[in-house]
C-alpha cells in the first residue's frame, strides 16, 4: 500500500510541477540544508532485490538483456573498484545524506547546494541559473545538476551522468539517462521523488520516492576507497570482463524457487506490468498482455539528438579546454587534440579536408589567446632586468601588436582514415619543422612544413611504390613514421613528453593513440567513440581483438583522479570527452559483444544466423545504426570475420 501512496504522491508532485499556478520561487524557500537520516521503510533501502527481480521497472527488451548479462563482478575490475553508487540509486544508499549550501555573499541567495552521501562524490546543485554544459562535455557519476524552486519543492535536473544501475545487483542504466528529482520538505521529513528517464533501457521513466528525516545527530561518514590496480576477480588477467552470455545467467530465477506464487512475467519488468490494468492478464485472465493498453508516459529524452550534439556535424570547430597544454577541438564531428605552448602547436589528426581552413583559424585564434594574451605591465624599469624598455613584450600588448604564436610543429595521425588525415596537406604546409642540411633551416624539397608522424602502415595506406598511383597526394603523407610498439617524440613538446603508442590490428593495421604525459591526456583516435560501435576495417587489417587490446592499453596507462572518474582525460575519435570509466564501459561493451559472437560462431552459426540472433541488441540503442556509413550489421560482420580462435 505504501507503494501506492508513493505513486500517488509522485503524480501529485508531477501535477504540481507541470502546472504553472505556483510561483517560480517561494518568498522564503524552505531550508533543506542539514543532516538527514534515511528512513529505512521503503523497498531496497537496506538490501538489494534478488538477481533477476525487475518488478516495477518499465524495462524494454534491451534493458532486460543488458541487466541479465551484466555481472555484479564488474565491480572487481580495476576501473570500477572505487565507483560510487549510481545516481538513481544514491538516495537509497546507506549512510544518510548531508546537504550544505553556498550563499552568494551579496544577495544571500543560495547559489549552490552540495549533496553528500557516504559512497558518493560531492554533488553540487547549481541554483544560480547557469546552463548545462554542451553534449561533448564529460559525464560524471553525479552528473551536472541545476535546481529551481517550484512552489515549495526543489526541482533538480541532472544531465551528463555515466552509466550505472537503478538498484544494486542487477537493473542497469545507460549513460543517456537524465534524472529529475523533486525534494519537498514537510517539517522534519524530506521526500525525494526521483524520475529516471533512460530511453535506451526503459519504455517510460522510472519513478521512486525515498524519505529522510532531519537528524542533527546524523553523520555522513566518508567511505574511503584505496583499491589498487589488481583485478579482484582472481586469476591474473587484469583485463578480464565478467559477464554472462545471453541465456546463461542461471541465477536469475533462483529467488522464485522459494516463491512459486509469484508469476514470472512481471518479475521481468516491462511497462505493462507496472500498471494496475495488468491484473486483468493474471491467473488466466481474459486480456492478453499484447492487447493490454496502459497509460504509459513517454520519455522526454531525445537520445538521437543528444548523440548528434555530442559530435556536432555543424561545419564548425568547437574548442574544449582540458588540462595542462591540451585542448579538444570538435571539428564537424571529428575530435582533434591540440597541444599549445612555448614550443608551438602539436595537432593530433587533421580532420576532414574541407574543414582545414576553419581548423587553422580556430587553432590559430586559440594559440594567440593562450600565448599572446594581452596583460597589463607588471614589470618596471630596473626591477625588470632584460625586459624593460621598448623591447618589453608588454609594450607589444599595449600597442596591440603582440608577437605571433609559435607555428605548428607536429601533426600526429592516429590512422589513415579520411577524417584523421584529410587535412594533412593543407594544414602541414602552414607549419615549420626544422630539418635538413642547413642546421635548422627547412629543406626546399620538403618545404617549410610540420613534421607528420604516424605508424608506417598509415604511410603504406596513403602512398604507393614508384610507378603506381598513390591513393593520396604526396604532400599529405606522413613525413616521419615508426614501426615499433611505441614512438617517443625525440624531445619535450611544450614542456612534456609525448608518446605515440601503436594499437596493432585495431580498427586498421596502423592505429595509434597519443599520450601527453604531463598534461594527462590521451588522444584515442578511432579506437574509441562514444557515438558508435568501433569502425573496424577488416580489409585494412582491423580486428575486434585489436580494438579490445588497444582499449586495454589505454586503460593500462590512464589513471582516475578519484572515485573512478576524472584524472586522465581520453579524447575519443568522436563524441564526448571521456575518462577511464567511460573507456572501461566501452571496452566492456565490445568485449561482451565479441564473446557473444564468438560463442555463436563456435556453435556453427553462419553470419546471417548470428545477425538474426541479435548479439548487440542491448547496445544498439546506444551505439548502433541501421543507416549511414557504419551500420550495426557491418559491425557484427567485422566482428564475426575477424574473430581469432586460439589454437
Amino acid at each position: 500500500m505504501k507503494n501506492v501512496l508513493l505513486a500517488v504522491l509522485a503524480v501529485i508532485v508531477f501535477a504540481g510541477v507541470r502546472g504553472s499556478a505556483q510561483p517560480a520561487r517561494p518568498a522564503i524557500a524552505p531550508d533543506i540544508a542539514g543532516e538527514w537520516r534515511l528512513d529505512n521503510n521503503e523497498q531496497d533501502t537496506t538490501a538489494q532485490p534478488p538477481l533477476g527481480d525487475y518488478l516495477g521497472i518499465p524495462f524494454n527488451d534491451a534493458g532486460r538483456m543488458r541487466s541479465d548479462t551484466t555481472a555484479e563482478s564488474i565491480w572487481g575490475t580495476p576501473e570500477y573498484q572505487c565507483r560510487p553508487h549510481s545516481a538513481p540509486h544514491q538516495w537509497r544508499g546507506l549512510g544518510g545524506a548531508r546537504i550544505l549550501k553556498e550563499q552568494d555573499p551579496l544577495t544571500r541567495n543560495v547559489s549552490v547546494y552540495h549533496i553528500q552521501f557516504m559512497r558518493s562524490l560531492d554533488r553540487p546543485v547549481f541554483m544560480d541559473g547557469r546552463p548545462h554544459p554542451p553534449a561533448y562535455a564529460p559525464h560524471t557519476w553525479t552528473g551536472f545538476s541545476t535546481g529551481e524552486w517550484v512552489g515549495n519543492t526543489l526541482k533538480i535536473t541532472t544531465t551528463h551522468l555515466k552509466d550505472g544501475y537503478l538498484k544494486r545487483g542487477g537493473p542497469q542504466t545507460s549513460d543517456m539517462l537524465t534524472m529529475t528529482e523533486y525534494l519537498t520538505r514537510h517539517d522534519e521529513i524530506l521526500t525525494i521523488v526521483t524520475v529516471t528517464d533512460d530511453p535506451i533501457y526503459l519504455d517510460e521513466p522510472y519513478v521512486e520516492s525515498t524519505t529522510y528525516t532531519y537528524d542533527t545527530t546524523s553523520t555522513v561518514a566518508t567511505e574511503t576507497c584505496n583499491a589498487s590496480s589488481f583485478a579482484e576477480n582472481g586469476g591474473t588477467d587484469r583485463h578480464w570482463v565478467p559477464h554472462f552470455l545471453p541465456g546463461q545467467n542461471t541465477a536469475l530465477g533462483e529467488w522464485l524457487k522459494t516463491s512459486e506464487w509469484i508469476p514470472v512475467e512481471p518479475t521481468r519488468g516491462g511497462v505493462k506490468t507496472i500498471y494496475p490494468e495488468y491484473r486483468a492478464t493474471l491467473n488466466g485472465g481474459a486480456v492478453k498482455v499484447a492487447d493490454l493498453k496502459v497509460p504509459s508516459s513517454k520519455s522526454a529524452n531525445d537520445v538521437a539528438k543528444r548523440l548528434a550534439e555530442s559530435s556536432p556535424r555543424d561545419g564548425e570547430v568547437h574548442i574544449l579546454p582540458l588540462q595542462g597544454n591540451i585542448y579538444m577541438a570538435v571539428a564537424n564531428g571529428t575530435n582533434l587534440t591540440v597541444s599549445i605552448g612555448a614550443d608551438g602547436i602539436l595537432l593530433v589528426d587533421t580532420g576532414d579536408a574541407k574543414m582545414s581552413d576553419k581548423i587553422l583559424a580556430s587553432v590559430g585564434q586559440l594559440a594567440s589567446a593562450v600565448l599572446a594574451n594581452p596583460t597589463a605591465n607588471q614589470c618596471f624599469g630596473a626591477n625588470c632586468p632584460g625586459k624593460w624598455g621598448w623591447s618589453s613584450p608588454y609594450i607589444g600588448a599595449v600597442i596591440s601588436a603582440p608577437a605571433p604564436a609559435r607555428p605548428l610543429r607536429y601533426i600526429i595521425n592516429t590512422s589513415a582514415a579520411p577524417e584523421r588525415v584529410g587535412g594533412n596537406e593543407r594544414i602541414a604546409t602552414t607549419g615549420f619543422f626544422p630539418r635538413g642540411s642547413q642546421f635548422g633551416g627547412a629543406v626546399e624539397n620538403v618545404g617549410p612544413r610540420a613534421s607528420v608522424i604516424a605508424h608506417e602502415e598509415v604511410l603504406n595506406r596513403m602512398s604507393a611504390p614508384a610507378g603506381k598511383a598513390s591513393p593520396m597526394p604526396t604532400a599529405s603523407w606522413p613525413t616521419d613514421t615508426y614501426f615499433d610498439e611505441f614512438h617517443k617524440l625525440p624531445e619535450y613538446v611544450n614542456g612534456e613528453a609525448v608518446i605515440v603508442y601503436h594499437a596493432p590490428n585495431a580498427t586498421t593495421d596502423g592505429d595509434s593513440f597519443v599520450f601527453f604525459r604531463h598534461s594527462e591526456v590521451i588522444a584515442a583516435g578511432n579506437l574509441f567513440s562514444t557515438v558508435s560501435y568501433p569502425v573496424i576495417e577488416v580489409d585494412k587489417g582491423g580486428t575486434i581483438d585489436g580494438v579490445i587490446g588497444g582499449l586495454n592499453k589505454i586503460l593500462d596507462i590512464a589513471v582516475a583522479e578519484y572515485r573512478a572518474q576524472g584524472g586522465t582525460w581520453i579524447v575519443p575519435g568522436r563524441g564526448r570527452l571521456s575518462d577511464t570509466a567511460d573507456v572501461a564501459a566501452y571496452r566492456n561493451m565490445v568485449t561482451m559483444i565479441r564473446d557473444r559472437v564468438k560463442d555463436l560462431k563456435r556453435k556453427g552459426m553462419t553470419l546471417a544466423q548470428v545477425k538474426a540472433a541479435k548479439p548487440t541488441m542491448d547496445f544498439d540503442g546506444r551505439y548502433g545504426s541501421t543507416t549511414g556509413a557504419w551500420t550495426t550489421d557491418m559491425f557484427v560482420e567485422a566482428v564475426y570475420s575477424s574473430i581469432q580462435e586460439k589454437k
Binding site: 500500500m1 507503494n3 501506492v4 523497498q43 531496497d44 537496506t46 538490501a47 538489494q48 532485490p49 534478488p50 538477481l51 527481480d53 518488478l55 516495477g56 555481472a71 555484479e72 563482478s73 565491480w75 572487481g76 565507483r83 560510487p84 553508487h85 546507506l94 559512497r119 544494486r168 545487483g169 542487477g170 567511505e223 574511503t224 576507497c225 584505496n226 583499491a227 589498487s228 589488481f230 583485478a231 579482484e232 576477480n233 582472481g234 586469476g235 591474473t236 578480464w240 565478467p242 559477464h243 554472462f244 545467467n249 541465477a251 533462483e254 529467488w255 522459494t258 516463491s259 506464487w261 509469484i262 512481471p266 518479475t267 506490468t273 507496472i274 494496475p276 495488468y278 491484473r279 493474471l282
Partner: protein, 130 residues
C-alpha cells in the same frame, strides 16, 4: 492489488542485509561453498574490502591465483585481524562462496585457518563478511 502484493512480497524476500557497495548475493553463489588449500601470496587489508590472494588448485587441479574477498579494515580490526596477522607464504585453508561468473577465481570468505598456529577466522560469532 495483486501487483502491489507482489512488490511487498519481493521486499520481504529481499530483506537480507548487505552493506557492501556491491551486492554479495549477486556476486557470489551463496548456495555453494568451495574449499581452497594453498599458499598465501598477498594480503591486502584495505577498504572497502580486504582481499586474501592465494595460490590454490581449481576444480581441475590447475593452480590458480584466487582473490578471496574479506571484510573492510574496521570490521577486521574489531575482530583482532591486523595487517601483520597473515604473512606471505603462509599455508592456509579457506572456505568461501564462489563467484557466479564462470571462469572467475574470486570468492567470498567464509572461514580462514592457518594450521601452523591454529589462527582462525570465521568460526566465532560476528565473523562473517559484511
Amino acid at each position: 492489488m495483486r501487483t502491489f502484493l507482489l512488490v511487498i512480497g519481493v521486499a520481504l524476500i529481499a530483506s537480507t542485509a548487505a552493506y557492501a557497495h556491491h551486492s554479495y548475493a549477486a556476486t557470489y553463489d551463496v548456495t555453494k561453498e568451495v574449499k581452497l588449500e594453498g599458499k598465501l601470496v598477498q594480503f591486502v587489508m584495505r577498504n572497502p574490502h580486504s582481499f586474501v590472494h592465494m595460490e590454490a588448485p581449481d576444480e581441475h587441479g590447475e593452480m590458480k591465483r584466487w582473490a578471496v574477498e574479506w571484510g573492510g579494515t574496521t570490521q577486521l580490526g574489531a575482530q583482532g585481524v591486523k595487517r601483520e596477522s597473515l604473512k606471505v607464504g603462509d599455508e592456509i585453508t579457506v572456505t568461501a562462496r564462489p563467484s557466479r561468473v564462470p571462469g572467475e577465481y574470486r570468492a567470498l570468505m567464509l572461514s580462514l585457518r592457518r594450521p601452523l598456529d591454529g589462527f582462525t577466522w570465521g568460526t566465532r560469532s560476528g565473523e562473517a563478511v559484511d
